[in-house]
């Protein structure tokens, strides 16, 4: 594909899809065909997602445990998370997501530690509940934490250790908060099941434990922001300047006491819809706190989101302050765009990542004139692609049915009638709550949407589109770079960032500029490539 056009319509990709599917055994082809969609933003299109990965297909996906322990509980610093299982599961989740945290000089922080029951064969044969009990006791005696989380891994689920019963028992014995998660890796079809299980667990065992008023005029929870590379730190500063009390963040730079207090907020702002919408909905059902979808990836998106939050509180001073911050920050944003865009405009990008990032990052690329030719999620559901309007039509299959839906009842003592009334009155003025349109309506016509992309599909896409950059994860990084195409890690930011907010946008434009315009790609062919007389005839030596 030519990359110099800035506005031309993307080509129809049906020949590419056909070529991809041709390689597959017919059963596989039939299944995969429903997860590859040539986008048309004007019409409603269905994409198959959140279904099991076919065995033998090289996938990006991880497991339920990774979503629960790694993603949702990982960024909270003052809880000891004990992984009940053989050593590996805990080892690989040890500091491998870049959740920064600021505990101050002597605050509690267990995030740099890795705790495991390191199950041995005898424990597998005779059961590991005693060992888990003892491990919890030892952790308590050494560290005296006020919370301990217990995570069950695949073999534990099979041998039937009851992590909930052990947690209850130890909670009583030690008189601290202890709770378990049945997040065995085989549950669900991806990390997504683990998000749901984590949401349930925190809501059941932590949220609502502390009714103290956090204080302040405007009280906000930020949901689905994980402080990768310091993203939360950037956003925290804006809120502070606006005079907004950030009651809790789920879960970047967070503490357990924030969660305990989360039901005292006036509004929930949801960033990653996929991983955290459950808590937002449960807080509304139980306490009457409304939620809105926001996005702080992209400068325009940040401005829009800050305005939306300010508008909710209906306060002139707050709105003026918000405009002041936006105006101030946009100066640097615009200056950087002006500089960078001359080198990035018209370039093509593709993104296969997460359950919201593949959508959000399109904004950032768009701001420097780059176009998304193809995108997809690793563990998204249909609502993340097509919008929440399809929620009622999603079929729950055997793999999802086993993930518990909590039965939430209204908490009369802590019910916010004022917020319910506020929601109605704002809705009358056209303010949208509980809305998410999904990724596909925001993508260009003929762009290719792919759910749970496989390695084979990635290869074909690179050949066909010759993109200028791809956003994905660590497993894809060096594969794609071997093709001479730079890969930006959108889970870990290649150890850069922050990328959220205005400051983050500026960082991102500059980083992408560096990646797509680095000179090294030009040095790949050796200078003697076209001078055969310089190439030795000798066979390769043995080493």
């Amino acid at each position: 594909m030519s990359t110099d056009n800035k506005t031309n319509m993307f080509p129809d990709s049906s020949d590419l899809i056909e070529e991809i599917l041709n390689k597959y055994p017919s059963k596989v082809a039939k299944k995969r065909a429903k997860s590859l969609v040539t986008n048309d933003p004007e019409i409603d299109q269905e994409i198959q997602s959140n279904i099991r990965t076919i065995p033998g297909i090289i996938t990006q996906r991880g497991c339920c445990y990774a979503g629960c322990k790694g993603v949702i509980l990982g960024p909270t610093r003052d809880i000891i998370n004990i992984v009940h299982g053989p050593i590996g599961c805990s080892f690989y989740a040890w500091l491998t997501r870049r959740n920064q945290t600021d505990a101050g000089p002597d605050g509690e922080n267990y995030m740099n530690y890795c705790f495991s029951t390191d199950m041995q064969d005898t424990n597998i044969v005779f059961g590991g509940e005693k060992k888990l009990e003892e491990a919890i006791r030892e952790a308590y005696e050494i560290f005296k934490p006020h919370s301990i989380g217990v995570f069950s891994t695949c073999p534990i689920g099979l041998i039937g250790d009851d992590v909930h019963a052990v947690s209850r028992k130890m909670k009583e014995e030690l008189d601290i908060n202890i709770f378990g998660f049945s997040c065995e890796g085989y549950k669900g079809v991806s990390q997504s099941a683990g998000h749901h299980i984590a949401n349930n667990g925190i809501f059941k065992h932590v949220v609502g434990l502390n009714n103290t008023d956090p204080g302040g005029k405007f009280k906000l929870n930020l949901l689905g922001e994980y402080n990768i590379g310091g993203d939360s730190f950037v956003l925290e500063k804006y809120f502070e300047e606006m005079g907004i009390t950030l009651v809790s963040t789920f879960s970047g730079n967070s503490t357990m006491s924030q969660f305990e207090n989360a039901h005292m907020a006036d509004l929930n702002a949801v960033m990653c819809h996929r991983s955290i919408n459950y808590i937002a909905e449960m807080l509304e059902k139980k306490h009457g706190i409304p939620w809105i979808k926001i996005n702080f990836i992209g400068a325009d998106a940040t401005a829009k989101s800050l305005r939306k939050i300010a508008k909710y509180f209906e306060d002139e001073e707050l709105m003026a302050k918000t405009e002041e911050i936006i105006a101030r920050e946009m100066l640097e944003v615009q200056a950087t765009i002006e500089d960078v865009k001359s080198r990035t405009e018209g370039k093509l990008c593709m993104m296969y990542v997460g359950g919201s990032r593949a959508h959000h990052y399109q904004e950032l690329f768009g701001e420097i004139g780059m176009r998304t030719i193809s995108a997809g999620y690793e563990f998204g559901h249909r609502d993340d692609y097509e919008g929440r309007k399809v929620l009622d039509s999603i079929k729950i299959d055997a793999d999802s049915r086993n993930i518990e839906e909590l039965d939430i009842v209204k908490d009369e003592a802590n019910w916010r009638d004022d917020l319910v009334a506020k929601k109605t009155s704002l809705e009358d003025k056209g303010y949208g709550f509980s809305e998410y349109e999904g990724m596909m309506p925001d993508m260009e016509k003929n762009s290719l949407v792919i759910d749970d992309i496989s390695h084979w599909e990635t290869e074909k896409l690179i050949e066909y589109y010759k993109p200028d950059i791809i956003g994905a994860g660590i497993k894809e990084k060096y594969v794609i770079q071997k093709y001479g195409v730079p890969l930006k890690q959108l889970h870990s930011y290649d150890y850069g960032g922050p990328y959220a907010g205005f400051k983050g946008a500026v960082n991102f434009y500059n980083d992408i500029d560096k990646m797509v315009n680095t000179k090294i790609w030009g040095l790949i062919p050796p200078p003697w490539k076209n001078e055969p007389e310089l190439v030795a005839k000798m066979a390769d030596t043995a080493y």
């Binding site: 055994p25 033998g56 996938t59 497991c63 990774a66 500091l95 030892e138 050494i142 041998i159 060096y478």
Partner: protein, 460 residues
């Protein structure tokens, strides 16, 4: 402080592991399998394990690490993973076209009790394994041993399922490589070639996980031991297995199966372990030791004689795997350093015995532990009680190093935050020079950073 809750006070722990000095079997099996040419490793379990193992190896090598998974669901966990694996084998040969699939199990499929032999037989009977292609496999339950055990099991799997004896002996030896870097495997080949030895090295990850940038991706790069070479290993006249924890089992199996006699040595790290390796190699391959090798040795000993005054008596803490730690301790002792604390999560009484032999005569105060209870938390507590001048281990050591202000040498698996290990060996005499250079750099850099201005000096 990064590890601010770590205290001096050591309480006995029976059940809680904190900051492990090991990981699980399959990641080792996956790495070993990459040392076969044209091989796609396959993880038989839920997709999470596979994703984690690929990520760990990718971060360590900064290279593509491909592997497939059986993607178990809750249903497969109840009914067994047979249909998942058969379907996976079919899909892999159709879509990704490897020469061989190397299957390893996971805790999940082990706990269920999936029988890999029988499942692979079934796949073969069902015509899912194309003519001339191979499926090998091994059991890697992580509730036994460690990542090193997994490597060992996959290497043994190569012997069990591929090596054959035709009755005609080749004038060639097998070099079975322990878990070392591609740079080290390349270095072993260089030394063996220099000696004129005729050999097959397996596994061999050089030119696989250190592939050059050419602008086009090769799913199966040019490196790796070929299947014909692996099959023929049963006809070779002898085996030299280096790195006992990772290779001795395979060497024994090859002897039992194909009557190939073997010697197992420690990894050639430092002067004396390399000496022993070179002499065994010379004997088994029936080749002399050339002047070039003697000169390399001389260079290493020369640098030690010149520099040992800066190293003498320095206290060192180490964590990692037995195969690396044992010869490394010997090397440090030969440089008059004091390895005072040594920890490995990998079990095995032999390690304790060997360390005792090495340490008791000159460093009786040394503390060492492996297997149960031997984690980095314990190591850190020892350090808190009495400090050290140098820490050696994988990237996780950087948290201790920063908290305690200790120079830190990265060696072992995984190294997540630096590069170089893929390209510059630590094996052999040349590798010894590199280790020594790195240690000296660290110790002298600290001196330069911390000396007062009047004491700051230019020359050594």
């Amino acid at each position: 402080m990064l590890l601010r809750h770590t205290t001096k006070d050591i309480k006995e722990r029976k059940s809680l592991t904190i900051n492990p000095a090991k990981t699980c079997q399959p990641v080792g099996a996956m790495y070993a399998a990459l040392g076969i040419h044209g091989c796609l490793p396959h993880s038989h379990g839920s997709q999470g394990c596979c994703s984690y193992h690929r990520s760990a190896l990718t971060r360590h090598y900064k290279e593509p690490i491909m592997a497939a998974t059986s993607s178990f669901t809750e249903g497969s966990s109840v009914f067994g993973g047979q249909s998942n694996l058969i379907q996976a084998i079919d899909n892999i040969f159709t879509i990704y076209e490897p020469e061989v699939i190397a299957v390893h199990s996971t805790c999940l499929s082990e706990t269920i009790g999936d029988d890999l032999t029988q499942i692979v037989e079934k796949a073969r009977d069902g015509g899912k394994i194309p003519e001339g292609k191979h499926v090998i496999f091994c059991n890697t339950p992580s509730y036994i041993g460690s990542h090193v055990t997994g490597y060992s099991n996959m290497v043994s799997g190569m012997v069990k399922l591929l090596s054959k004896s035709t009755g005609v002996t080749n004038d060639k030896i097998n070099l079975i490589s322990g878990w070392v870097e591609p740079s080290d495997m390349r270095e072993v080949k260089r030394m063996a070639n220099l000696m004129g030895a005729n050999f097959t090295l397996f596994p061999d990850t050089s030119d696989v996980v250190d592939a050059p940038q050419t602008g086009s991706y090769e799913m199966y790069p040019k490196g790796g031991t070929t299947i014909p070479d692996l099959i023929a290993s049963g006809d070779n006249k002898a085996t030299l297995a280096f790195g006992k924890w990772a290779t001795e089992d395979a060497a024994i199996k090859l002897e039992n199966k194909c009557k190939v006699p073997f010697e197992a040595t420690e990894l050639p790290i430092g002067v004396r372990a390399t000496d022993r390796f070179i002499m065994e190699l010379s004997k088994l391959a029936e080749v002399g030791i050339p002047e070039a090798i003697t000169a390399e040795r001389g260079r290493l000993v020369d640098m030690i004689t010149d520099m040992q005054q800066y190293l003498h008596g320095k206290r060192v803490a180490l964590f990692g795997d037995p195969d690396q730690l044992i010869p490394l301790v010997e090397f440090l002792l030969d440089m008059n350093m004091k390895p005072v604390y040594i920890v490995s999560g990998t079990p095995g009484k032999k390690m304790h015995k060997r360390l005792e032999e090495l340490l008791l005569p000159t460093v009786p105060e040394a503390k060492f532990q492996n297997g149960k209870g031997a984690d980095m938390y314990l190591l850190h507590q020892w350090i808190k009680n009495e400090g050290v001048d140098l820490l050696i281990g994988n990237s996780y050591g950087k948290y201790i190093a920063r908290d305690e202000n200790i120079p830190f040498l990265r060696m072992g698996f995984p190294i997540l935050d630096r590069v170089g290990h893929s390209y510059f060996p630590t094996l052999g005499y040349m590798g010894g020079l590199r280790i020594l250079e790195k240690i000296l750099d660290l110790i002298m850099d600290k001196q330069d950073l911390e000396s007062s201005e009047p004491e700051f000096e230019l020359v050594m």
